[in-house]
């Protein structure tokens, strides 16, 4: 369309500018942000919460789970490509989305509008939490890929601090909320549930999932602070559920 010479071509006005029809790449970046929230980040969250649940079986089982995950082929590449980089992108682009929107729940205190705002705050909590969590648990202190037997004690020491425990509880609830509503948003915005009733029904499904995940996460945390596994040694020997290829060598030589 050669609109440049057209007499009725829109002149630049103040205020919100019209749609730049078909121009730019923001569609791709926004959809990537949306997709990454489900796969791989959501999938990883499920894996992480399931792995955490192993803590209820005791330090050895928890360590064995950490060792299993670190025994996956190309695990360092998997870690960066499917966990760190997607979360970094999802988080940074999410903040970019947030700062460009202007919340108006003061004037329009409707349920969907509250959820819109909550999705931004829970996302911010998630970024801040994940930042410190990865730094302190993955890159600082004893290295768990080399010493999976130290996993339980490392987390236990972290949660022994009541402030840190509060941070973990808040973050657990916020992240499960963000993920549950994120699934719903994904389904709504990708046209999977275009009907009002379907959205409502799926809302209950997502709420149930989010609640279940949050409870699972909090119950797992209980394992670390309960008297049952009090004063777990810094490194527990992992002998019970070793993979057959690892039988020949002690755990600390792996990876």
């Amino acid at each position: 369309m050669a609109t440049a010479q057209h007499p009725s071509a829109p002149t630049l006005r103040p205020g919100v500018q019209p749609l730049r029809a078909g121009q730019g790449t923001s569609f791709l970046w926004r959809k990537l942000h949306s997709l990454l929230g489900i796969i791989p980040i959501g999938a990883f969250l499920l894996e992480h919460l399931l792995s955490n649940f192993e803590a209820l079986k005791g330090p050895a089982a928890y360590g064995a789970q950490v060792r299993f995950l670190n025994s996956l082929p190309m695990v360092r590449i998997l870690e960066w490509v499917f966990i760190f980089l997607p979360i970094l992108y999802h988080g940074l682009y999410g903040v970019y989305i947030w700062v460009r929107g202007n919340s108006n729940i003061v004037y329009y205190p409707w349920a969907g509008n509250w959820m819109y705002t909550a999705q931004r705050y829970t996302g911010l909590i998630a970024i801040l939490y994940i930042g410190q969590h990865v730094l302190r648990q993955r890159f600082m202190g004893i290295s768990l890929p080399e010493n999976p037997g130290a996993a339980f004690a490392k987390v236990q020491h972290e949660l022994a601090n009541p402030w840190m425990l509060a941070v973990y509880v808040i973050a657990m609830i916020a992240i499960c909320w963000h993920f549950a509503y994120g699934i719903w948003l994904f389904a709504a915005k990708w046209g999977i549930i275009p009907g009002v009733k379907a959205r409502k029904r799926f809302g209950f499904v997502c709420a149930a999932l989010g609640l279940a995940l949050a409870i699972m996460g909090l119950v797992s945390m209980w394992a670390f602070i309960s008297p049952r596994y009090k004063n777990t040694p810094d490194i527990v020997p992992l002998t019970t559920t070793q993979l057959h290829i690892q039988n020949a060598q002690p755990a600390y030589t792996l990876l």
């Binding site: 006005r13 749609l19 819109y116 009907g195």
Partner: protein, 249 residues
């Protein structure tokens, strides 16, 4: 009953660059009065509550029965049509402000041309112009009419855009009204000739992806358009179109 009055506070601005001032008005209560009829009464006797002569208030209105879409304004903080805002249902003093997301012209009048530009950008029409009689169009089955009719009720009042947290100068979001019209015209047996172009247009910057699904649009819509359903459906269509374009390029 003679002593019963209606208190109004109206945000006024003489020009786009003039400072905004609030003026208070007091009108005698009459049965069935609404915000537009109140503004008409002020125009007939433009005197503020404390007795100062002022100018009549500038505002858009036309049909006075919530069908033209002209008189959208913020009444007690919420965007709505002034003609269907019955005074008896409003908390007093009734605070009236212009829509906040559109360039102000004067007082309560704003320039909502961006919606017209957006509708043009997505070709929200049925192309029937030609040099000869095209004859009658294809038949639209009643089942399809049932889907289309609610979408055709849009009165371009821009309330959905005003209340949208994503509709602002940063995002340049197109807004729910235009997206609903894309669905309407894509459903039309003749209008769908532009279907692919409309969907590609909506994938541009400020397009459908900017929706944050706060769902304020569907809450506020005076004509009860199924806006969130339309956004969901059209989002999927846009995505499929972009995927097809990518694979066929």
């Amino acid at each position: 009953m003679a002593s019963k009055t209606v208190q109004l506070e109206i945000k006024r601005q003489a020009s786009p660059d003039a400072p905004a001032v609030w003026e208070k008005f007091e009108l005698e209560w009459r049965p069935g009065m609404n915000v537009t009829s109140s503004l008409m009464e002020i125009a007939a006797n433009p005197v503020t509550a404390d007795g100062h002569a002022t100018t009549p208030i500038t505002y858009d209105s036309n049909c006075l029965e919530e069908i033209c879409g002209s008189c959208a304004m913020r009444i007690n903080g919420k965007a709505r049509m002034a003609c269907s805002a019955l005074v008896d249902n409003l908390e007093q003093p009734i605070r009236i402000e212009p829509l906040s997301k559109f360039p102000l012209v004067r007082d309560l009048q704003v320039d909502r041309a961006v919606l017209f530009e957006n509708l043009k950008a997505v070709k929200a029409w049925v192309p029937v112009d030609g040099t000869y009689d095209l004859g009658s169009g294809p038949r639209v089955f009643p089942q399809q009419q049932e889907v289309n009719y609610p979408l055709s009720n849009c009165i371009s009042c821009t309330c959905c855009m005003e209340v949208c947290p994503q509709f602002n100068e940063e995002t340049g979001f197109v807004g729910a009204a235009t997206i609903a019209q894309v669905k309407l015209f894509n459903n039309h047996p003749t209008g769908k000739v532009f279907k692919e172009e409309r969907l590609r247009a909506l994938a541009g910057d400020g397009g459908i992806q900017e929706c944050g699904f706060a769902q304020n649009c569907v809450e506020v819509c005076p004509k009860k358009l199924p806006l969130t359903n339309a956004i969901s459906d059209v989002s999927r269509d846009v995505l499929i179109q972009k995927a097809k374009d990518f694979l066929r390029s």
